[in-house]
Amino acid sequence: MKIKYFAWIRELTKNNEEYLDSNEIQNLKELKKFLSTKYPDLQKHFDQEILRFAVNQEYVVENIDLNVDDEIAVFPPVSGG
């Protein structure tokens, strides 16, 4: 699956996007756990529920299942307009 990072999340991960392929990541909760381990600086933001998640360009708040061809985005609150 493809993971995209935006704004200051991108600055923390030092990465615009990356591809993950792991049996440990079956749902959003497991993805968060994986990312917390890979990027310890993200942990506190997950805990404070500051970050937004989009799966295939739709906001997701529940712990939905993820598929290998999904595009998942992790980003802070928006500030457009």
């Binding site: 995209k4 935006f6 704004a7 200051w8 991108r10 989009a54 360009q57 739709e58 906001y59 595009e71 985005a73 980003f75 802070p76 609150p77 928006v78 500030s79 457009g80 307009g81």
Partner: protein, 138 residues
């Protein structure tokens, strides 16, 4: 019509190119957002606006669909810029085309509310010696 672009736009040209298709349009309400010189009492020099383009299109389509359920609209235009923008530059244009005033006002207001809340854009403001990521307030 949805446009996500780096380039500036001409409000007259953008609105009239849609208006001229529909002779039943009597009312167009539009909102233009600009880069201000000052935010939270700090002097802004420029901003960089980052976008998740694919998602922005999807969200704008959704907003327009929702607006059409609630009001009688003939057409809707959303233009949102991204990239490096200077003070006084336009950031966004939303225009609602309707037969009557009340529909166009309500829809334009609704779209801006939704856009501020959900559209995946991030403003990085540059000040004299630092820069800062913003979050929408209202």
């Amino acid at each position: 019509m949805i446009k996500i672009q780096k380039e500036n736009f001409n409000v007259e040209k953008e609105i009239s190119s849609i208006k001229k298709i529909h002779s039943n349009v009597g009312a167009v309400t539009s909102f233009i957002g600009y880069v201000r010189d000052n935010n939270n009492n700090t002097n802004v020099e420029s901003i960089n606006l980052e976008v998740y383009e694919k998602m922005a299109y999807k969200q704008f389509q959704k907003i327009i669909k929702e607006a059409n359920i609630n009001w009688n609209l003939i057409d809707t235009l959303i233009i949102h810029r991204y990239g490096k923008l200077q003070i006084n530059d336009k950031i966004v244009l939303v225009a609602s085309f309707s037969s009557h005033r009340k529909d166009s006002f309500a829809a334009c207001n609704f779209i801006m509310d939704y856009l501020k809340k959900d559209a995946p854009f991030w403003k990085n403001e540059f000040y004299d010696k630092k820069n800062e990521w913003l979050t929408n307030t209202s």
